[in-house]
């Protein structure tokens, strides 16, 4: 009886008793959700345009952030370093298309998936060789990202919002909105989806596979850079960041692998669910539930919608 009380009643009593704390928890969840969504977005971009799960997305985040910090450490002004990093991501996209994707046209998806494993280890090696393995500090203030916190007095207590978190949420929202419209409503967006559906048909209407792949990997690189800056500003820039990519997996399952709005909604559900679960139910299970709760949430959604919340309906005429 007591255990049921602790699961089904006690947490809600706590929530009602301290609404400011609840708001704070929700906000923290929202912010980490938005950041998960950013990582998931990188996956969705490449999956949508090539049907390939890009295992290297996590390391691309680290690589972009390291390049930015590394260039700045060499005495290059922050915004020039940012521009140079964007150029580096473009070069990376072109190299990936030339050296990895082009020789593998028309191969099964699993082959391409394995190739992204190879890319992961290559980028780890390259990053360590150039920038070294020790953690670095993100140049957040040099890039003009706000510091400090805003406090909001409410319900007799207060809720504090980190300004960097607000910035992260705004930037992520703009990116998601732009990409969603781009994919749905423009020529290049249509071409991207077309390539994902059928290489043969795309070629026959004159869509250039090479161009599309460069665009999509470049876009994923830019998203990786934004993710790297935001996550880097919250912790450090180190190779440990790449494990964040694993956090994107439940988000993708929940949101659907092909949906950009799905990535953001999935991210927020996972982020908020995780924080609420840890704060209110965590003590029951001896804490540490953050590491697996996301997968359980995703599993529950999967039971009811196998294609994810916003995934394309699986259509098969027999």
């Amino acid at each position: 009886m007591e255990i049921l009380y602790k699961i089904f009643v006690d947490p809600f009593v706590q929530m009602a008793g301290a609404p400011d704390l609840l708001i704070q928890t929700l906000w923290e969840g929202l912010v980490s959700g938005v950041l998960y969504a950013l990582i998931a977005l990188g996956f969705v971009l490449i999956f949508k345009a090539s049907g390939v799960f890009n295992f290297a997305q996590g390391i691309m985040v680290v690589f972009a952030a390291l390049t930015l910090v590394g260039l700045h450490a060499k005495g290059i002004p922050a915004f020039v370093a940012l521009a140079l990093t964007i150029v580096v991501m473009l070069v990376l996209a072109i190299a990936v298309e030339r050296l990895m994707l082009r020789p593998l046209v028309n191969q099964p998806d699993i082959i391409l998936f394995m190739a992204t494993f190879g890319l992961t280890y290559f980028l780890i090696g390259l990053g360590e060789l150039i920038f070294g393995g020790e953690p670095k500090v993100m140049i957040a203030s040099e890039l003009g990202l706000p510091k400090g916190a805003v406090e909001w007095k409410v319900f007799g207590g207060f809720v504090s919002f980190q300004k960097i978190d607000i910035a992260a949420a705004v930037i992520a929202s703009i990116m998601v909105a732009t990409l969603a419209v781009f994919f749905q409503k423009t020529r290049i967006g249509r071409a991207l989806r077309a390539v994902a559906d059928s290489h043969k048909a795309a070629l026959s209407v004159g869509i250039s596979l090479e161009q599309i792949w460069v665009i999509v990997w470049f876009a994923a690189g830019i998203v990786a850079l934004a993710t790297g800056i935001m996550w880097g500003a919250r912790s450090d820039v180190s190779f440990a960041l790449q494990t964040l990519a694993l956090k994107a997996l439940p988000v993708l399952i929940l949101g659907g692998f092909t949906s950009i709005p799905g990535a953001i909604v999935g991210g927020v559900i996972i982020g908020v669910g995780e924080k609420l679960g840890e704060f209110y139910w965590g003590p029951l299970l001896g804490s540490g539930i953050e590491s697996w709760l996301a997968y359980v949430i995703a599993l529950v959604f999967l039971l009811f919608r196998p294609q994810g919340l916003f995934g394309e309906r699986i259509i098969e005429r027999i």
Partner: protein, 266 residues
């Protein structure tokens, strides 16, 4: 729908010439020393028993395959190797034997995809989708709506094509090819798997495209009634070789053709 821009080749002149083309895959000789031409404005049928090399021929024409020997001259230009992209931008559109559509996309988006090469605004404008890019999008959407009207598929334009019945999918695929405003339209078995009524509709569309827009058409078809009614000239392939070439009546009377189709008494 406005007619496509006319190339500077007059009707009745040679648009595409195939000379001594041979294609093999390892030991399998798919096409052996075949020559023929397609004249501007005509409907040219390619027929033959299964495995005769008809689809391979279309794949050679639009650059999916590069033949080991022979020359292909399209609009007066001879090219040793033509990539599908070059073929598409040169004005060759096609449909496939087993419908190749973008299954997850709507009929409208599929046909819009056919206008990829006609739209020119760059990545920057596309990203903000405002001003010139939006204007361009609207203009091309109008053309596409014309094509949708022409093919009578208004009612399905927002439906993902994967959900459509086969006959309608074929029609959407034709729409996508028409959206490219091609000089040469290649149709690979446009009527396969259709019932009589659908075949009649499709025949009408093919004739209309040919007559009103002056589009040159090369088609592969198994239904002899359709082929004889539609086409101006017919070429017959058997085991990768050309065995006859001429008007439908000439071909029908040809002994080699009859034996290829019906077998010979031994």
């Amino acid at each position: 729908m406005r007619p496509p821009a006319q190339a500077d080749i007059a009707a009745g002149e040679v648009l595409l010439a195939i000379e001594n083309v041979s294609l093999s895959f390892g030991g399998v000789k798919a096409i052996r020393d075949v020559s023929f031409d397609i004249k501007k404005g005509e409907i040219r049928a390619i027929i033959g028993p299964n495995g005769a090399g008809k689809t391979s021929m279309l794949n050679v024409i639009n650059g999916f395959y590069t033949p080991q020997q022979g020359r292909i001259t399209f609009k007066g230009k001879t090219r040793a190797k033509m990539r599908p992209y070059d073929a598409a931008s040169g004005g060759i559109a096609r449909t496939f034997q087993n419908v190749a559509l973008f299954r997850g996309m709507t009929a409208l988006d599929n046909i819009m995809a056919g206008r990829t090469l006609k739209m020119h605004r760059g990545l920057f404008w596309q990203l903000i989708r405002f001003g010139p890019a939006l204007q361009e999008e609207v203009e091309h959407r109008r053309r596409v709506e014309d094509i949708i009207d022409f093919l009578h598929i208004e009612h399905i334009r927002k439906t993902p094509v994967g959900r459509l019945p086969y006959g309608l999918q074929k029609r959407v695929e034709l729409g996508r090819a028409l959206a490219m405003e091609p000089d040469l339209l290649l149709l690979d078995e446009p009527m396969a798997g259709m019932n009589l009524e659908e075949k009649e509709d499709m025949s009408r569309f093919i004739l209309d495209v040919n007559q009103y827009f002056g589009t040159t058409i090369a088609l592969i078809e198994h239904d002899m009634g359709v082929v004889m009614d539609l086409s101006d000239r017919v070429i017959v392939l058997d085991y990768g070789q050309k065995i006859a070439d001429g008007t439908p009546d000439q071909v029908k009377a040809n002994k080699a053709v009859i034996s290829a189709y019906l077998g010979v008494a031994h």
